[in-house]
Amino acid sequence: MTFSPDLEARFARLLESYPPGRRRSALIPMLMYAQDEVGAVTGEVVEEVARRCGVTPLQVDEVVSYYSMLHRQPQGKYHVQVCTNISCLLRGGDKLYEQASRKLGIGHKETTADGRFSLEEVECIGACSWAPAIQVNYDFHHDMTPEKLDKLLASLEKIQ
């Protein structure tokens, strides 16, 4: 399986970051970056990464299923992650989650039929002092309010 030249370059750098004979160390970063490009950790990605890191596909699976940010199925184009852990909860994170769920018509770890949005109720994302917070893909949205959430979802809806 081939990846984009940029990703290949990144992989090459990655493999150089670890001591000799330790290419397995590149496993998790490789999976994350491959997922960003391919959209999911597909069976093909598992096989390929296993080969490059010198492990078995089962060893890759053990890892993929352990980490909550690695997904075997594609997420929506916009993966909306609402934090409901304490700091966010205290400032209405749970309500935001319900609101997002209502608006998008999907629940936890579901994806809209058009593949545009997926939703996940996540654990603390390190934005506690600017709670409630949401992450869309890798972008943080701090100090959220119901109005800001509506606007955010509407703007994402519009992007081509």
């Binding site: 397995r24 590149a26 352990y66 409901t84 304490i86 400032r91 603390c124 390190g126």
Partner: protein, 436 residues
């Protein structure tokens, strides 16, 4: 200033460059004392560097508060194996969001801290293990590393000293447990984030089985100041045995939540009222989690205390990772306890019985209790199950789940009783269980 305005009560040592134009650049860093700590360290013997850090009473900012200098001194410098420096940037403890700022606004400070540690233990490679959600920080750090390398502050023969040191970023992929040092190392080696049997500790057998200095980001960030100004100067900022300042992440029901750098031993009530502008909406204070979700909760009446490791230990809680979560009088404690347990059940790595089964049981029990299906016996059971985990799990995650739970039941028993007899919870929803 990023994200929140500074407070006049702050003592800005680690955060002093925050808010400067282009604060993440090497030029800004160098214009504001950057790499002076390292230059001084170059003139010292390794033992003297470590001595300086010991003198500073710098205690680990990741949660456990272990004296940093002492930890470094455990590394067998003479070992023929390579040594490594690992910065713990996993920052996943609920209530904590400080390392993020240190890396975003002043990445070179972290690099310098790691470099000084490397010099002290003779390491030539370092890794920054960054939680997967902080992807943008990888770009910032990689840029900073490139910049530092290009100008001779990293790489081969640093500043002509003959000393080599490379730093690499390494992303996590969503697992709280990977903040635990030995699980982090497993993850760094491409494995499931399951902790290791200890001893040996990382100082002796850490990354790739080699001696490793593993510290929290904030811990490393304090090191350049200590080397520049001297350990004694840093120590003097705090209270005895609790040197320096620390970054407190004030969140929850306060008027001005934010990350504030305050001297060790700063009074908690003053922090809430004078730094954080008091409890929001004119409400009364009910409780505070003083150091991230793992720490036993304090009732309002227990909050008049200095924020340092020893004072909090005396109060039956912990300073933890500096996440101060403030709760107003309307907060449902059953709901908070449930939400915290949902977190731990979701994050338990599943390795050992007491944590894996205990968190799952408590999550279900608290959920049923919260939903009005609890009995009086269940209140005792919650505490019992938590106690059956305490001190018996493979790593401290089990304790982190058990300790706050025990404190919620003991300190807010009446709220648990108010949920009895099928009475609906005074609050609306604590959310369905996150599918673990």
């Amino acid at each position: 200033m990023p994200y929140n305005d500074p407070s006049p009560l702050e003592v800005r040592i680690l955060t002093r460059r925050f808010g400067l134009p282009d604060s993440a650049s090497l030029d800004t860093y160098l214009a504001h004392d950057g790499f002076q700590g390292f230059e001084r360290a170059l003139k010292l013997k390794p033992e003297e560097i470590i001595e300086e850090v010991k003198l500073s009473h710098l205690r680990g900012r990741g949660g456990a508060g272990f004296p940093a200098g002492l930890k470094w001194s455990f590394v067998p410098r003479s070992s023929p194996k390579p040594k490594y420096i690992v910065a713990n940037a996993d920052e996943s403890e609920p209530g904590t969001c400080k390392d993020r700022l240190l890396m975003e606004y002043d990445p070179h400070q972290l690099l310098e801290g790691m470099l000084i540690a490397a010099l002290a233990v003779d390491a030539h490679a370092g890794y920054i293990y960054i939680r997967g959600e902080y992807r943008y920080l990888i770009e910032i750090l990689d840029r900073a590393i490139e910049e530092a390398r290009a100008r001779g502050y990293l790489g081969r023969n640093i500043l002509g000293s003959g000393f080599d040191f490379e730093v690499y970023t390494h992303t996590g992929a969503g697992a709280y447990e990977c903040g635990e040092e030995s699980a982090l190392l497993e993850s760094l080696e491409g494995k499931r984030g399951v902790p290791r049997i200890r001893p040996p500790f990382p100082a002796v057998a850490g990354a790739f089985g080699c001696p490793t200095v593993l510290n929290n980001v904030e811990t490393f960030c304090a090191v350049p100041y200590i080397l520049r100004e001297g350990g004694a100067a840093f120590a003097a900022l705090g209270t005895p045995k609790n040197g320096g300042t620390r970054l407190f992440c004030l969140s929850g029901h306060v008027n001005r939540p934010g990350v504030y750098e305050l001297p060790m031993g700063f009074n908690l009530l003053r922090m809430i009222h004078e730094v954080g502008g008091g409890v929001w909406k004119g409400k009364k204070l009910k409780a505070v989690i003083p150091g991230g979700s793992s720490c036993p909760v304090l009732k309002a009446g227990e909050c008049d205390l200095p924020m340092d490791y020893d004072s909090l230990a005396r109060a039956g809680s912990m300073l933890g990772s500096g996440g101060v979560v403030v709760m107003d009088e309307d907060t449902c404690m059953v709901k908070v306890a449930l939400r915290i347990m949902r977190f731990y059940a979701h994050e338990s790595c599943g390795w050992c019985i007491p944590c894996r089964e205990g968190t799952m049981w408590l999550r279900k029990l608290l959920q049923r209790f919260h939903d009005g299906g609890g009995t009086r016996a269940d209140i005792g059971l919650i505490g019992d199950v938590a106690k059956s985990m305490l001190g018996r799990t493979f790593c401290p995650l089990g304790d982190a789940a058990a300790m706050p739970t025990i404190s919620f039941v003991e300190k807010f028993r009446e709220e648990f009783e108010a949920h009895l007899d099928g009475r609906p919870c005074p609050c609306e929803r604590a959310g369905e269980a996150v599918a673990v």
